[in-house]
């Protein structure tokens, strides 16, 4: 065993990359759930975004257009979910699961002729001499734009939910849709927009996998990342800052176990692999047992369908 082989600065940099897809997807899902909708289709929207982004990047040569297409693809898929659950009042859990299965199928259909192609690479952001600062530079200042976008989005989502009027309305809809409706807010419309935002974020996260982290299209490329994103939202008890922490923690656990293995440490891999889910269960138990704020942090209308006629 040779732990000195692990360079902490490089490890942190890798964790930031590994965490970005789940961070983006989890932030999107957080907004969706804050509006009172439970969309379990994150995995399906991610993989749809992954293939849409990949196709457009390969065809146009522009990763930027690729990420836009990924967001559009994810949002489009989530629109199906939105129509089914908001207008046709289908069960959100069942529809979300169906969306995942549908997304996986659509993605492999679209991706059939894109296997084995290498996409144009996503450029690292050139920050000039500051990226040469020892440690800090290696850790934080040598990434591509999407990594920073993820962090910026975390702050934006946090600030919007906490301080802006839109955030307040969104939370009102998620906490008590009848009251929000009585106040004259368009509950369905707000929820559909939130769902599409969630889809776009998941799509971006998926594209980060197929364009940066792997970077290639293979079937089932998301490999459960969407489910981890869902777990992070619960783990964070619907707080954007903790979502960021959770994404780094969950992404870090996988990377850490690979690094420990490479360093020759006999790690019980199974325990490390299940630790994110164990932590999530633990958080759920603590949340439900504690009285007061934390236990109430789940949006009160989460998963309840809304019908304006009542």
């Amino acid at each position: 065993m040779d732990l000195s082989a692990i360079n902490p600065a490089v490890l942190v940099a890798s964790i930031m990359i590994a965490a970005t897809p789940i961070l983006l997807a989890a932030l999107g899902e957080l907004v969706v759930e804050k509006s009172g909708v439970l969309n379990l289709g994150v995995e399906g929207m991610m993989i749809t975004g992954a293939i849409c982004g990949f196709i457009v990047t390969v065809e146009t040569g522009s990763p930027f257009l690729g990420f836009i297409a990924a967001a559009a693809g994810g949002a489009f898929l989530s629109l199906i979910f939105a129509v089914l659950t908001q207008y046709l009042l289908s069960n959100q859990v069942a529809t979300g699961l169906a969306l995942t299965l549908f997304g996986l199928g659509v993605a492999s259909l679209l991706g059939h002729s894109y296997v084995g192609i290498n996409p144009p690479s996503v450029p690292k952001l050139d920050l000039g001499p500051v990226s040469d600062i020892p440690y800090i530079g290696t850790m934080f200042l040598r990434h591509d734009a999407v990594v920073y976008f993820g962090i910026a989005l975390t702050i934006a989502v946090w600030a919007t939910l906490k301080y802006s009027r839109i955030g307040l309305v969104l939370r009102a809809v998620g906490e008590n849709h009848d009251a929000a409706h009585a106040l004259g807010y368009k509950v369905i419309r707000i929820r559909i927009l939130a769902i599409m935002f969630g889809g776009a974020c998941a799509g971006l996260g998926g594209a980060y996998l197929s364009l940066v982290r792997v970077p290639q299209w293979t079937e089932g490329i998301t490999a459960g990342a969407g489910w981890i994103a869902l777990a992070i939202v619960v783990f964070a008890s619907w707080r954007p800052g903790v979502v960021l922490l959770g994404a780094y923690l969950f992404g870090g656990v996988t990377l850490l176990q690979l690094n420990l293995q490479a360093a020759g440490l006999a790690v019980p891999v199974e325990y490390l692999s299940m630790s994110p889910y164990l932590i999530t269960i633990l958080v759920l138990v603590i949340m439900s047992s504690r009285k007061g704020r934390a236990s109430l942090s789940a949006p009160a209308s989460l998963g309840h369908p809304f019908q304006a006629s009542r």
């Binding site: 065993m1 082989a5 692990i6 360079n7 490089v10 490890l11 890798s14 590994a18 492999s108 259909l109 679209l110 059939h112 002729s113 296997v115 084995g116 290498n118 690479s121 996998l209 982290r213 792997v214 970077p215 290639q216 293979t218 079937e219 089932g220 490329i221 998301t222 490999a223 990342a225 996988t254 990377l255 690979l258 690094n259 293995q261 490479a262 360093a263 020759g264 006999a266 891999v269 692999s273």
Partner: protein
């Protein structure tokens, strides 16, 4: 987009089925059950190349069909049953996990011949098993890796701790060590066959820890892509992976199933098919190499090719004693080579490898 071609394919497939029924099943029908997508660029791609080789070799005399991405388990049994019911004469099931389903379905259809890849159960007369001696290829690439590494650190991305994978690690390590006594092998297990993100992360972790040559026993090209990006070298697995890393790619171990598939199809046509167990290697061409990279120095390449030829001629066995087990106990005495039976069940590391085989 490609929808039209897919639809055309579907129409053609329907037409073919109709034709086969109409002419009273004169063609020999060969079915393939694949665990991955045919375009995985690795394991399943090569099995599919074998299927295409059958079509080319027999033309109109043989009809082939396949079902891809069949999960190991009850679904596999359903797919095989369907194939048996639709007039297939020979069915290749190409993943270890199809072992029990293959035998179960074979019992119900004694007239249909079944061939199961990489398994060992032949419970009925109509079940044959076949596999390739991938470890022979790994000995050769191990030698190249030992010579090519400058940091003296070789990375090995391993999938699932089964004897086939452990045997590959041992073969590669022994020959890397022989080529370069300073060499150290870092092994990372991903516990799966196709998880591109994890395999890529594993390759990154290895490179960050000073590895400059990567081997993989997993099915995606992600490690090759990462090696290309990081300026390291890598070996492809199962299929030619040079497209994923034009400068990183040293060579790939290719599983060439085509000659075997053609031979077995011919046997069915001739009525001479019978149960057997095949474990072929470089000598029959079941294990091949992709083009060797120009980056390999001429003397190293000559040594590698000499080893390959010696293995092919049966003059050299990659596991030739003296070899000790990891705990220092003797595995093979000077000049001794293992029997196929125990070799097939190899479940320990040889001396010098750091770490434990995961349980």
């Amino acid at each position: 987009m490609k929808l039209t071609s897919i639809l055309k394919g579907a129409v053609a497939a329907l037409a073919l089925t109709g034709a086969a029924m109409a002419d009273g099943h004169e063609k020999t029908k060969v079915g393939f059950v694949y665990v991955g997508p045919i375009a995985d660029g690795g394991w399943t791609t090569e099995h599919n190349n074998g299927r295409l080789a059958i079509e080319e070799a027999f033309g109109d005399a043989v009809e082939t069909t396949y079902v891809e991405k069949v999960p190991e388990g009850a679904d596999a049994e359903r797919v095989m049953t369907q194939m048996a019911l639709t007039g297939h004469d020979l069915i290749f099931t190409t993943s270890f996990g199809y072992m029990d389903p293959t035998n179960n379905v074979a019992e119900k259809f004694p007239d249909v011949k079944f061939e199961h890849a990489t398994g060992y159960k032949r419970l009925h007369d109509n079940v044959t098993t076949y596999s390739a001696r991938f470890y022979e290829g790994r000995a050769v690439i191990g030698h190249i890796a030992g010579k090519m590494t400058e940091t003296n650190k070789i990375g090995y991305i391993a999938s699932v701790p089964i004897p086939e994978v452990i045997r590959g690690i041992n073969a590669a390590y022994l020959h890397a060590k022989k080529a370069n006594p300073e060499v150290e092998m870092k092994i990372v297990w991903t516990f799966g066959w196709e998880d591109a993100a994890k395999e890529g992360d594993a390759a990154r972790a290895l490179i960050e820890q000073g590895v400059d040559v990567i081997m993989q026993h997993t099915d995606t090209t992600a490690p090759m892509l990462v090696a290309e990006e990081a300026g390291a070298y890598a070996f492809g697995q199962a299929s030619d992976m040079s497209a994923a890393g034009p400068t990183a790619h040293l060579t790939s171990i290719i599983d060439n199933w085509a000659p075997y598939y053609i031979e077995r199809t011919q046997a069915v046509i001739d009525g001479t098919w019978e149960q057997k167990d095949t474990w072929d290697g470089i000598s029959t061409g079941m294990v091949e190499f992709a083009e060797f990279s120009d980056a390999i120095p001429a003397d190293v390449l000559a040594e590698a090719i000499a080893m390959k030829d010696a293995i092919a001629a049966g003059e050299y066995h990659p596991f030739t004693g003296p070899i000790n087990k990891q705990d220092g106990s003797v595995y093979l005495a000077e000049g001794e080579t293992p029997e196929d039976g125990p070799l097939a069940g190899m479940n320990f590391y040889v001396e010098g490898i750091v770490g434990d085989v995961p349980q």
